[in-house]
């Protein structure tokens, strides 16, 4: 049992608390701040695995289906990017590629890295890890751009002859972003702080 006192930032009211690892409530807002680190670790991992599973259909199935006078065509995320690139819309193609393909992958890799380094006490800069985690939390929701675009198009291109529908890929993609966000929100920053010398917190 670890009883080392530490400065903890309450995730609700942002107050600084000086507490040990037992279950504690924030001194200012009375919400709990020090949950079991092991629980945080496993929740993060479980949500991450769910997100990675959804990432596969999100890329295989079409995100957009269009019907033009009875003729149906569909586009996956990558297909859409290639389409835009060929049409000469390079900036938009890059935005979609970054937001839909690279941001989720980056987030997966970073969370996996943080979980591994929490478990095996990798020697690396805590400061850098906190910064990286913060940056992925900020850019994470931007992955939703493509899903939003499809929904906006499905509302606008809604005529008797021509119609656009969100495909199964859009649902999978939305769920993928949702679970990645849950994973990041479950990650307790103390998992970064506690890496050296008190592995009992993070080991399962």
């Amino acid at each position: 049992m670890n009883r080392k006192l530490d400065y903890v930032r309450c995730h609700i009211c942002e107050a600084v608390n000086y507490v040990d690892d037992t279950n504690r409530k924030c001194r200012r807002c009375h919400e709990s701040i020090t949950h079991d680190l092991r629980l945080s670790y496993h929740k993060t991992l479980a949500f991450l695995i769910t997100a990675i599973i959804f990432y596969i259909p999100a890329n295989i199935y079409p995100i957009l289906i269009s019907k033009q006078f009875g003729k149906t065509s569909s586009n996956t995320i990558i297909g859409g990017v290639i389409h835009l690139w060929d049409a000469g819309s390079y900036p938009i193609a890059l935005i979609i590629l970054l937001a839909s393909v690279f941001v989720p992958l980056l987030k997966f890799i970073l969370i996996i890295y943080l979980l591994i380094s929490a478990k095996y006490n990798l020697h690396s800069s805590k400061l850098d890890k906190h910064k990286l985690f913060y940056i992925t939390e900020v850019i994470g929701p931007w992955s939703m751009v493509d899903v939003f675009v499809v929904i906006i198009l499905s509302v606008l291109v809604h005529f008797s002859g021509v119609q656009i529908y969100p495909g199964e890929g859009a649902t999978a993609f939305g769920l993928m972003v949702f679970f990645t966000m849950l994973s990041a929100l479950s990650f307790d920053p103390r998992l970064i702080n506690h890496q050296k010398g008190d592995s009992s917190n993070a080991n399962s």
Partner: protein, 211 residues
């Protein structure tokens, strides 16, 4: 043991988690993190009144955004508008319940929850009433804030417009302008007030929260 007062004078950077000691600032000065240069806290006067005014403006522009037409497209004489009503109708008709619900929560319900909670919170704090309710609203806001995606919606709207540009004539509606106002106001509000300071203010107005 460290006293409450000493802890109140500490702040942890949200980005790099470096512990800082707060120093008294002169009026309208800001303090930044020594490691990553992000804003830590600021000393501004009349924060409550100023933020309340901004939130009222944001509430009005958010209402307009969802009440009227955002954009209208015209393809060879056929017109179709992007409105909240059209969105509901298309989701129901196409039975896109999962994506549809996500969209409605992230773009409509959460932003409305945030703005109306802020409105009630700041009004109550201004009149120093409702200790428990304001406390619950502050906690609710902390939970809902990561899930509002109006800014991402705006960029998505621009991408959709670029995609339609070759096929359709696009007309901007009243709500398009209102949406831009909402976003600008949202940025100013976030810059104006931090939740660290709102909780600080809460304690100054109502005293300590009982268990």
């Amino acid at each position: 043991m460290i006293t409450e007062e000493e802890l109140d004078n500490l702040i942890i950077c949200k980005k790099c988690h470096t512990l800082h000691k707060r120093v008294p600032l002169s009026e309208n000065k800001k303090a930044f993190c020594s490691k990553c240069d992000i804003l830590l806290y600021q000393n501004s006067t009349n924060t409550l009144d100023r933020t309340l005014a901004l939130v009222i403006a944001a509430a009005i522009s958010l209402f307009i955004t969802f009440k009227f037409t955002i954009i209208t497209i015209n393809i060879q004489g056929l017109e179709q508008s992007l409105t909240l009503y059209a969105l509901f109708m298309v989701i129901l008709e196409q039975q896109q319940y999962i994506v549809g619900m996500m969209f409605i929560f992230l773009i409509v319900i959460f932003p409305i929850t945030i703005i109306s909670s802020m409105l009630i919170l700041l009004t109550l704090m201004k009149f120093k009433k409702g200790k428990y309710l304001t406390q619950r609203l502050l906690i609710l806001l902390a939970h809902v804030r990561p899930w509002s995606m109006v800014d991402i919606f705006f960029i998505s709207l621009l991408v959709a417009m670029v995609k339609l540009f070759d096929y359709a004539y696009i007309e901007l509606g009243v709500s398009f302008i209102a949406l831009i106002f909402t976003l600008i106001l949202d940025i100013i509000i976030t810059k104006n007030i931090s939740f660290y300071e709102l909780w600080d203010l809460h304690r100054k107005i109502y005293g300590k929260i009982d268990e």
